[in-house]
C-alpha cells in the first residue's frame, strides 16, 4: 500500500458512506471506501441503531411477558444470561457488518481500514491500525465521517462507570441504579433497555420535557408509561456534578423537588452528538464548517470545495441514518450529472421506546411557529380494534392538514409499531397526498394502519369509529 489514486474516495463507512460507495461502484466508478473501524458499518451498525434496537426488542419481550399477567398468562420472572444476550447482539452486528464487507467485494469497492486525514483538497494520508502510513489521492471524495457522543469535560471524570451510548451498549453489567443524563431518544431507549433488564433507572432532563422536538401531546402517553418503568424522571433538572465514590457515582442534582445528591452504580451521558469535523485535516481543504461543526452543503451535497461532497451526520441535522443514506444517493447522482437534489419533504424521526413515537413532515409545534394554516386531526387508538386486541390503547395518530387543498403536511404517531406505520405518512407527504387520498385508500383490517385512514377521515368529515362534536380548527385569524 504505497501511493494510490482513486476516482472516488468515500471517507467513512457508515450508513452514509457505504451506500455512497456502492452506488458509485454500481455506476462504473472506481471507488475506495476508507473507514478506520475494525469492521465497516459506522456508528449505526457497530454502536448505534442496530445494537440498540436488538436490545430494545429483548426489552419489549420482557415487558410483554410481564404484562401478560393481566390477561391471565403468568410467566416466571426472566433469567438473564448477560453473556448470551451480549453475544446475540454482537452476532447481529457482526453479521450485518460482515455483509457489508461481502458487498464491497462483490461490487469491486476497495475497502481500506485506516484513518484518513486530508493533507489538501485531493489527498488523504491514511494510517492503518498497525501504524502503516500511505497516501491516497482522488478526483472526488465523499466525506461521511459521522459524529460522536458529546461528552463535556466536566462529566468526563475518568471513571468507567460514567459511560456514553457506546459504553451502555457494551452491556458490561446490569447496574442496580442507572442515571441517564439527557431525555432525548438515545437516553430513553437505553434507559428502557436497562429498566427491562432490572435496573432502577433515573432520567434527568434539563429542559421542561422529554424528547424536545416532538409534539407534547404525543410524548404524553410515552411519558406516562416510562414513569412506570423508570424509578424517576426529573425534568427542569440539571446534573451539576458527578463524583466517584466507592458506593457509586454521586450526582449532584439541581431542580425542584429533587434530592440534591443521589448515588448511582452507572451513569449514561446522552446529551447529544457532535460532528467529527475537528480532527481529520478538513482545515487543509476549502470546505466551510458552521459553528456547530457541520460541513456546509448545498442541496446537491456539494461543499465549498469543488472536490469534496459531504453526507450524513457530518453534513448537518437531523443526525439520522436514513437521512445519511438518501444523501449518499444524491451525492453520487450529483457526481454522475443526474438531476438529483435533496428535495425531500419528510425525514421521518422514530423513537424506539415502548410505545414508539414517530413523526414526519411538520410537527404541530413547527406548524405553529411557522404560522402555517393547518387543521390537526387526532385519532385515539382507544377507538382502534387492533389496538384493543393488543391491549395498547394509549396511542394517538395525528395528521396535520393544510385547509384549502387538504394536503397532508405532517403526521405524528405514538403507539406500538409507530416506527413502521410512519412509512405511509412519508409516502403521503412526498407524493403531495391529500387527506382524502389516505381516507379513500383501503387499509387492511384489523391493523393499526387503519388509524391513519381514520385520522384522515376526520379531516374531511367524521371517522367511522370515533365521534367528535366539532373538529378542531386552527386557522390563524381567518374570518369567523
Amino acid at each position: 500500500m504505497a501511493n494510490k489514486h482513486a476516482q472516488l474516495v468515500v471517507l467513512g463507512g457508515g450508513p452514509g458512506g457505504y451506500p455512497a460507495a456502492f452506488a458509485a461502484a454500481d455506476n462504473g466508478m472506481q471507488v475506495v471506501l476508507v473507514d478506520e473501524g475494525r469492521q465497516p458499518g459506522g456508528v449505526c451498525l457497530n454502536r448505534g441503531c442496530i445494537p440498540s434496537k436488538t436490545l430494545l426488542h429483548v426489552a419489549k419481550l420482557i415487558n410483554e411477558s410481564r404484562e401478560a399477567a393481566d390477561w391471565g398468562v403468568t410467566f416466571q420472572p426472566p433469567e438473564i444470561d448477560l453473556e448470551k444476550l451480549r453475544n446475540f447482539k454482537n452476532n447481529v452486528v457482526g453479521s450485518l457488518c460482515g455483509g457489508i464487507e461481502g458487498l464491497c467485494k462483490a461490487r469491486g469497492v476497495e475497502l481500506i481500514k485506516a484513518r484518513g486525514t486530508f493533507t489538501d483538497s485531493s489527498t488523504l494520508e491514511l494510517k492503518s491500525a498497525d501504524g502503516e502510513v500511505s497516501t491516497l489521492s482522488f478526483d472526488h471524495c465523499i466525506v461521511a465521517i459521522g459524529s460522536v457522543p458529546t461528552m463535556p469535560p466536566f462529566f468526563d471524570i475518568g471513571d468507567d462507570r460514567v459511560m456514553d451510548s457506546t459504553g451502555a451498549l457494551e452491556l458490561n453489567d446490569i447496574p442496580d441504579r442507572l442515571l441517564v443524563v439527557g431525555g432525548g431518544y438515545i437516553g430513553l431507549e437505553m434507559g428502557s433497555v436497562y429498566a427491562a433488564l432490572g435496573s432502577e433507572v433515573t432520567v434527568v432532563e434539563m429542559s421542561s420535557g422529554l424528547l424536545p422536538g416532538a409534539d407534547r401531546d404525543l410524548v404524553s402517553p410515552l411519558r406516562k408509561r416510562l414513569t412506570k418503568q423508570f424509578s424517576a424522571i426529573h425534568v427542569n433538572t440539571k446534573v451539576a456534578r458527578l463524583a466517584p465514590a466507592d458506593s457509586g457515582i454521586v450526582a449532584s442534582l439541581e431542580g425542584e423537588g429533587v434530592d440534591p445528591e443521589l448515588t448511582f452504580d452507572r451513569v449514561l451521558i446522552s446529551i447529544g452528538r457532535r460532528p467529527n469535523s475537528g480532527n481529520c485535516g478538513l482545515q487543509n481543504t476549502q470546505v466551510d464548517i458552521d459553528n456547530k461543526g457541520f460541513i456546509k452543503i448545498d442541496r446537491n451535497q456539494r461543499t465549498a470545495d469543488p472536490k469534496l461532497l459531504a453526507i450524513g451526520d457530518i453534513a448537518g441535522e437531523p443526525m439520522l441514518a436514513h437521512k445519511a443514506t438518501r444523501e449518499a444517493k444524491v451525492a453520487v447522482e450529483t457526481l454522475l450529472g443526474e438531476p438529483a437534489e435533496f428535495d425531500n419533504i419528510a425525514i421521518p424521526a422514530v423513537v424506539f421506546t415502548d410505545p414508539e413515537l414517530a413523526w414526519a413532515g411538520k410537527t404541530e409545534a413547527e406548524a405553529k411557529a411557522e404560522e402555517l394554516e393547518y387543521t390537526a386531526h387526532r385519532f385515539p387508538w382507544a377507538a382502534s380494534g387492533r389496538a384493543q386486541t393488543l391491549g395498547r390503547t394509549e396511542g394517538i395518530t395525528k395528521i396535520l392538514v393544510e385547509p384549502t387543498k387538504q394536503r397532508v403536511i405532517g403526521v405524528g404517531i405514538v403507539g406500538p409499531g409507530a416506527g413502521e406505520m410512519i412509512a405511509e405518512a412519508v409516502m403521503a407527504l412526498e407524493m403531495g397526498a391529500t387527506a382524502r387520498d389516505l381516507a379513500d385508500s383501503i387499509h387492511a383490517h384489523p391493523t393499526l394502519s387503519e388509524t391513519m385512514m381514520e385520522a384522515a377521515e376526520s379531516a374531511i368529515g367524521q371517522p367511522t369509529h370515533f365521534f367528535r362534536a366539532k373538529p378542531k380548527k386552527n386557522i390563524a385569524g381567518s374570518p369567523q
Partner: protein, 543 residues
C-alpha cells in the same frame, strides 16, 4: 418580546467554550451588561455579559457543558435591547425553545376577539408611467410583521430607478408572494395582509411583530464549485423557500431534468397534485409556443444561409470536407456573432523597452523557457482583469446575472494545421511569467500534435489571440462565448515620434479587444485597454 441571548464570540478563533458557572437565576431581572455566566476557553476564563435587559425566563445551558458560539444561553422575557446591539434574535414563538407544557396538548390559537379580520392581497401598483414590470430588489417585511399604512413592503428596480413600494393598508403580513430578484408585473400580488377593523393595530398583536426581516437563513450558502460538478445556484433561490410543489419525488426529478418550475403548473390529480402527465403536457404546450428570449422579444434563431449556387458553372472547383475542429469552430463562431453585440476597441501599446528587455532576457538565458510577447501579455491581462473584474465575467440573461469569475484562466488561440484550437492556461494569477511561458510552449506543441485533451481547452475566462507573427495592422476578433472579451494582438510596428523636439523611434504593439457590450460598457473597455497598454510600457507594474 422574548429574546434568546446566544453565546457571542468570546475571542477570535474560539468556536466553543465550557460553561464554568451560571451567575443568574431564573426569574432574575437583569440590566444590560449583567454577567450571565463564566466560561472557560482553552486559554482563559471569560465573563459573558448580556446586552439586553429583561427577565430570565429560562437558563438553557448548565455548568460543564461545552457549547459552540451561537448557542442560546438564556431566554429573556420582556427583553429590550440596549442601543448598540444589532444581534437580537427575536423568537417567533416560545414553542421553539420547547418550553411548552409537557402535559397540555397544543391549543388552537386564541380566537380573534370581537374585531373582524379579513385578508387583503396587496398587488404591485403602477410604479411609474409606462412601467409594466419591476425586479424586486429586496423584500423588507416578513410573515407576522405588523405594519402601518405607508410602511415599505419592498424595494423594486425598474430599468431606470429604484422605487419603494409601500403598503396602502395597516395589518399583519400573512404571506409574501415575491422574493428578491423576481420580476413582477403590475397588478401581481406582493403580499397578503390580514386587516383588522379594530381601531388601530399598534398593540403587540403577535410576539413576532417587531421581528426584523429574517437575516441569513440557516440554509448553507455555498459557492457553487466549478470543476466536474455542474455549478448550481443554491444561494437564496426562491424555490428552496417556497412550500414544496405537490408532486412526488419521481415527478420532481423529471421537472428538474427538464428545467420545469413545478410552481408554474396546475396539477390534474386530487388536491392539485402534479403528475408526470402534467409535466409532459406543460412541456408540449410550451414547445408549441413561439420561442421567446428573456426580455420578450422574439428570437431570430440562427438564420440559415441562403442556398449556394452551382459554382462549377463559373469554373472548376474542389470539395474538401470540413474536419470536426472546423465544424465546431464554425458553429461556435456563428452563434457568438449572432448573439453577442460586439464592439472592438483598438489601441497601440508602446513596448519599446519591454521588447528589448525581453530579447535581452531570451538571449542571455537560452535554457530558460522562451518568454514570448504572448506570455507577457497573459500576465499583463491578468493585472488588468483584476482591476476591471467585469471583463473576467459571463452574462446570464436567463437569471439576469453577471457571473464574475474569481479565477484567471487565459485561453490562447493556436493556429494548427488542423484548424484553430484554444488551449487554456489555468490560474495565471498564481504563476510567474516563466511558468506561463513554459506552459504555453508545452500547450502549443500539444496542440500541433493534436494531443490536447478536452480539459486542456475548458474553463477559460478570457482569450488572447496573437496574429503578430504573421502580420497585419489590426483585426476584430470574435468573443469566445461564454466569455465576454477577447484580446487580439497584431504585428508590432516601428513608428517615429517626437520627444522633446527630437525624432525618436518607438515600437508600438497594436491591440484590438472585442467585447460583449451587454456585459461591458464602452468606457470600461477603453479603460481596460489603456490600463493594459500602460502596464506594458511601464512594465514594472507586471511584477
Amino acid at each position: 418580546m422574548a429574546i434568546e441571548f446566544k453565546l457571542p464570540e468570546v475571542a477570535e478563533g474560539i468556536e466553543s467554550v465550557d460553561i464554568a458557572e451560571i451567575l443568574v437565576a431564573e426569574g432574575d431581572r437583569i440590566e444590560p451588561g449583567a454577567v450571565i455566566c463564566e466560561v472557560e476557553t482553552d486559554k482563559s476564563v471569560a465573563e459573558i455579559d448580556c446586552p439586553y435587559s429583561g427577565t430570565v425566563a429560562r437558563i438553557l445551558v448548565s455548568p460543564g457543558q461545552t457549547v459552540p458560539v451561537g448557542t442560546p444561553l438564556v431566554l429573556l422575557e420582556d427583553a429590550a435591547a440596549s442601543a448598540a446591539t444589532p444581534t437580537a434574535e427575536v423568537l417567533e414563538s416560545a414553542v421553539k425553545t420547547n418550553i411548552s407544557d409537557d402535559t397540555a396538548p397544543p391549543q388552537p390559537a386564541a380566537p380573534a376577539s370581537d374585531t373582524e379580520n379579513f385578508e387583503v392581497e396587496i398587488s404591485l401598483p403602477e410604479v411609474a408611467e409606462g412601467v409594466t414590470s419591476v425586479d424586486i430588489a429586496e423584500v423588507l417585511v416578513s410573515v407576522g410583521d405588523v405594519i402601518k399604512a405607508g410602511d415599505v413592503i419592498c424595494e423594486a428596480e425598474t430599468d431606470k430607478s429604484v422605487a419603494e413600494i409601500d403598503c396602502p393598508d395597516a395589518g399583519t403580513i400573512r404571506a409574501i408572494h415575491v422574493a428578491g430578484g423576481q420580476t413582477v408585473n403590475v397588478g401581481e400580488p406582493l403580499v397578503t395582509i390580514e386587516v383588522s377593523t379594530a381601531p388601530e393595530a399598534d398593540a403587540p398583536a403577535t410576539p413576532a411583530s417587531t421581528a426584523s426581516p429574517v437575516t441569513s437563513a440557516e440554509t448553507p450558502v455555498v459557492a457553487a464549485p466549478a470543476d466536474a460538478l455542474a455549478p448550481a445556484n443554491v444561494t437564496g433561490s426562491p424555490s428552496t423557500q417556497r412550500t414544496p410543489a405537490p408532486a412526488g419525488p419521481a415527478t420532481r426529478r423529471l421537472a428538474r431534468k427538464l428545467g420545469v418550475d413545478l410552481h408554474q403548473l396546475r396539477g390534474s390529480a386530487r388536491g392539485g397534485r402534479i403528475v408526470i402527465e402534467d409535466i409532459e403536457g406543460y412541456v408540449r404546450s410550451r414547445l408549441a409556443q413561439p420561442a421567446e428570449v428573456a426580455g420578450g422579444t422574439a428570437s431570430m434563431g440562427i438564420v440559415a444561409a441562403a442556398p449556394l449556387p452551382d459554382f462549377s458553372k463559373f469554373g472548376p472547383v474542389e470539395k474538401q470536407p470540413l474536419n470536426k475542429i472546423s465544424r465546431t469552430a464554425a458553429a461556435n463562431l456563428h452563434s457568438a456573432w449572432i448573439t453577442i453585440p460586439h464592439v472592438t476597441q483598438h489601441n497601440q501599446a508602446d513596448i519599446t523597452e519591454l521588447e528589448s528587455a525581453r530579447k535581452r532576457y531570451v538571449k542571455d538565458n537560452p535554457k530558460s523557457p522562451k518568454i514570448t510577447m504572448t506570455a507577457i501579455m497573459i500576465k499583463a491581462v491578468v493585472g488588468a482583469l483584476r482591476t476591471f473584474p467585469k471583463v473576467n465575467s459571463s452574462i446570464d440573461l436567463t437569471s439576469g446575472e453577471l457571473i464574475l469569475k474569481k479565477y484567471y484562466n487565459i485561453g490562447v488561440a493556436v493556429d494548427t494545421p488542423n484548424g484553430l484550437v484554444v488551449p487554456v492556461i489555468r490560474n495565471c494569477d498564481q504563476k510567474n511569467v516563466l511558468q506561463v511561458a513554459a506552459e504555453l510552449t508545452d500547450l502549443a506543441l500539444k496542440a500541433r500534435d493534436r494531443k490536447l485533451k478536452p480539459e486542456d481547452m475548458q474553463g477559460a475566462s478570457f482569450t488572447i489571440t496573437n496574429l503578430g507573427g504573421i502580420g497585419g495592422t489590426s483585426f476584430t476578433p470574435i468573443v469566445n462565448h461564454p466569455e465576454v472579451a477577447i484580446l487580439g494582438m497584431s504585428r508590432g510596428q516601428k513608428v517615429l515620434q517626437m520627444e522633446e523636439g527630437k525624432i525618436i523611434e518607438r515600437l508600438m504593439l497594436p491591440l484590438s479587444m472585442s467585447y460583449d457590450h451587454r456585459a461591458i460598457n464602452g468606457a470600461d473597455a477603453a479603460r481596460f485597454i489603456v490600463k493594459l497598454s500602460g502596464s506594458l510600457t511601464n512594465f514594472f507594474e507586471l511584477f
